[in-house]
Symmetry: C2
Subunit: 105 residues, 2 copies
């Protein structure tokens, strides 16, 4: 699990970019226009997202097309979910044990 | 979606603490011992995890017992998964469209 993925998602503008891209690929120009922030600001945040493997960029001539990388997202949510599930499973097991003990009393 | 959750998970020691706690509650002393780092270091990272709502602390006399908060984890993984699913759904829809078009050709 890379630090970078969670760091990349720890900023509201970068999460907004991810939400924008989840509804389909977009050019850098489109993303910049959508958020009404400066080009250097968008560039900096896109760089963070790309370095973390959350977003990919395909360059075709003057067009830079951005897309989500579902594999990276799946890895990040998978790590969180596996911790949560382990915790819940433990509590289910303890709950069952207590119920059985109550039945025997 | 709070920034804090992803920031909290963006550090290897804090993720290791989450992994430790996913197998059951532990005291601060136990966690400190397990990781072989200084008490101030653990305290600082625990504070970040608590402020982000990832970890809870129950104080009973001299015992500080730490536990995971599965609700916060579920919210974080849920956000990531909903982005990934939207993206995958889009690609499934485009794929079906292309297949139908190919069938008609």
């Amino acid at each position: 699990m890379a630090n970078d993925t969670f760091s990349a998602l720890a900023h509201p503008l970068r999460r907004a970019i991810v939400e924008r891209l989840s509804s389909g690929p977009a050019t850098v120009g489109e993303v910049t226009r959508d958020f009404g922030v400066s080009k250097p600001t968008i560039s900096r945040h896109l760089k963070t997202l790309e370095e973390a493997g959350v977003v990919s960029r395909v360059i075709a001539g003057r067009n830079h097309r951005l897309a989500l990388r579902p594999d990276t997202l799946a890895e990040a949510s998978g790590w969180i979910e596996s911790q949560r599930r382990r915790w819940e499973a433990l509590f289910d097991a303890v709950g069952e044990y207590l119920e059985e003990r109550a039945d025997q009393a």
